[in-house]
């Protein structure tokens, strides 16, 4: 996570972007090309699902942090209830995030899900139920990440707004106080 680089025309974190795209592309490519080379459904299933799971982990733990400064997870608190937690950078750092990085992040997430949906439609048309299983798993992983990060981003924006209004109101009251103390 290197905000010291000038966010200009280039990606600020090329290695992270590469890995962000790598596993998604590998899962899709393997799934599509495997029909040509591999006979065994088991191998196709296991390899595709493992690549999709690796991609899920990379996006959630690494590229989400680095490319867009967001993170989400779930905890169970003392009362035994499930709590979704979100974390984001403060406004200055968020403003400094490389635009290309975040563009790549979000667009590859959406395109990945769209690609799996298209492949799913093909499988359904061909009545290949076991391939629909593979696609269901991969699709659910992509959608989980999309939902998680979207909520995290909305939450971050709300935090910024709340922070801003609170800052304004506290400044206002402190200004009032200092005005009265002068008087």
């Amino acid at each position: 996570m290197d905000f010291s680089q000038t966010p200009g025309e280039n990606y600020a974190n090329p290695k992270t972007c590469f890995f962000h795209v790598l596993f998604k592309a590998a899962a899709l490519a393997f799934y599509i090309l495997s029909a040509l080379f591999v006979d065994s459904f088991v191998i196709i299933f296991v390899v595709t699902v493992v690549l999709a799971a690796l991609d899920f982990w990379v996006v959630k733990n690494v590229s989400g942090r680095i490319l867009v400064g967001l993170r989400w997870w779930n905890e169970i608190n003392e009362d035994g209830e499930s709590v979704w937690k979100f974390e984001s950078l403060d406004q200055q750092s968020l403003a400094r995030i490389n635009k290309k990085d975040s563009w790549l992040f979000w667009w590859t997430l959406y395109l990945n899900a769209a690609a799996w949906i298209v492949l799913g439609v093909f499988s359904v048309i061909r009545f290949q139920v076991d391939y629909v299983l593979v696609i269901a798993v991969c699709l659910s992983l992509s959608i989980a990440n999309i939902i998680g990060f979207t909520k995290c981003q909305k939450d971050a924006k709300k935090q910024i707004q709340a922070f801003a209004t609170q800052t304004i109101s506290s400044r206002f009251s402190s200004t009032l106080q200092s005005a009265f103390s002068v008087v």
Partner: protein, 287 residues
């Protein structure tokens, strides 16, 4: 402008994150967190919103801002959803949330890409091992389901389900692909349905925690299937499957039974037992 850059706005809500930070940072080699010249010197983080998100039947808490609508758990996501938790859940003995690392909002910033990845991997692996030990082996926390799988994860169940499917597929001499697909779908759908069963009986469990538990309880059956694959004696197979089946049921029992009304215990436990018995039959019958 942002004068409270250096001051966390809500120190109370920071404590959980601070603990997680400390745990994360404590496992990192000391280098990275201090070598951040471009970063602001203090943790400029926005207060974390902890939105109480209920998947049980408890009445909604009155804390402010249920800021999120609940995720559509009713849409029954396929159970193989490895939702890795990036940081370990705060340990029960809450250490003071002193933030001794001036990192930016989330943990160790990497110098290279591999450094934090390895640490995250190690942390996740150790969580899998500890969850496994908690669920499957005797330990003092078994009576309290809230503690048992506090930091649930779905990687362990994922590995075990895939492994069981693979072993069954290898053992089969014909129709290997169907065997694998059926085993996987049966286990995944079975876990989801069993969880829904408990929820519909009015029990208090958390969806993903229960999925995680049912997945971890497959570990004895994995071991049994592996042994059965290597041995051909039918009697031995039956004995091994019975032993591992009993072990799996014993592992799942406390959690499931304490989640429901005592009068409905059998209704919640019987389907679990039934599923494990059917997996056991699958193991014996495959040749």
């Amino acid at each position: 402008m942002s004068h409270s850059d250096t001051i966390p706005l809500h120190s109370s809500s920071q404590s959980d994150i601070d603990e997680i930070e400390n745990l994360i940072n404590a496992s990192v080699q000391s280098g990275p967190a201090t070598v951040q010249p471009a970063r602001p010197p203090s943790p400029p983080r926005i207060p974390v919103s902890s939105s109480p998100f209920l998947q049980s039947n408890l009445p909604p808490p009155t804390t402010a801002a249920a800021k999120l609508p609940p995720l559509p758990s009713s849409s029954a996501p396929p159970s193989v959803l490895p939702a890795t938790v990036p940081g370990p859940a705060p340990p029960p003995a809450n250490s003071a949330g002193s933030n001794n690392f001036a990192a930016s909002g989330f943990g160790p910033a990497p110098n290279t890409l591999t450094e934090p990845v390895w640490d995250t991997v190690k942390r996740d692996l150790s969580r899998i091992v500890s969850n496994l030990k908690l669920v499957v082996f005797p330990n003092p926390f078994r009576e309290d389901p809230g503690k048992a799988l506090r930091d649930w994860d779905l990687w362990g169940p994922f590995f075990f389900i895939v492994f069981l499917g693979l072993v069954l597929s290898w053992s089969a001499s014909v129709k290997k692909s169907e065997v694998f697909a059926v085993a996987f779908a049966l286990l995944a759908a079975g876990a989801v349905i069993l969880t829904l069963n408990v929820l519909l009986l009015g029990g208090h469990i958390i969806f993903f925690q229960s999925l995680s538990l049912l997945g971890y309880c497959l570990f004895p059956l994995d071991v049994g299937a592996l042994i059965c694959m290597l041995q051909d004696n039918v009697i031995l197979k039956i004995v091994v499957v019975c032993v591992t089946l009993a072990w799996s049921s014993w592992a799942a029992y406390p959690f499931m039974s304490s989640a429901v009304n005592p009068r409905r215990k059998a209704l919640a436990l019987y389907p679990v037992f039934l599923m494990y018995v059917s997996v056991g039959f699958l193991i014996i019958a495959i040749d």
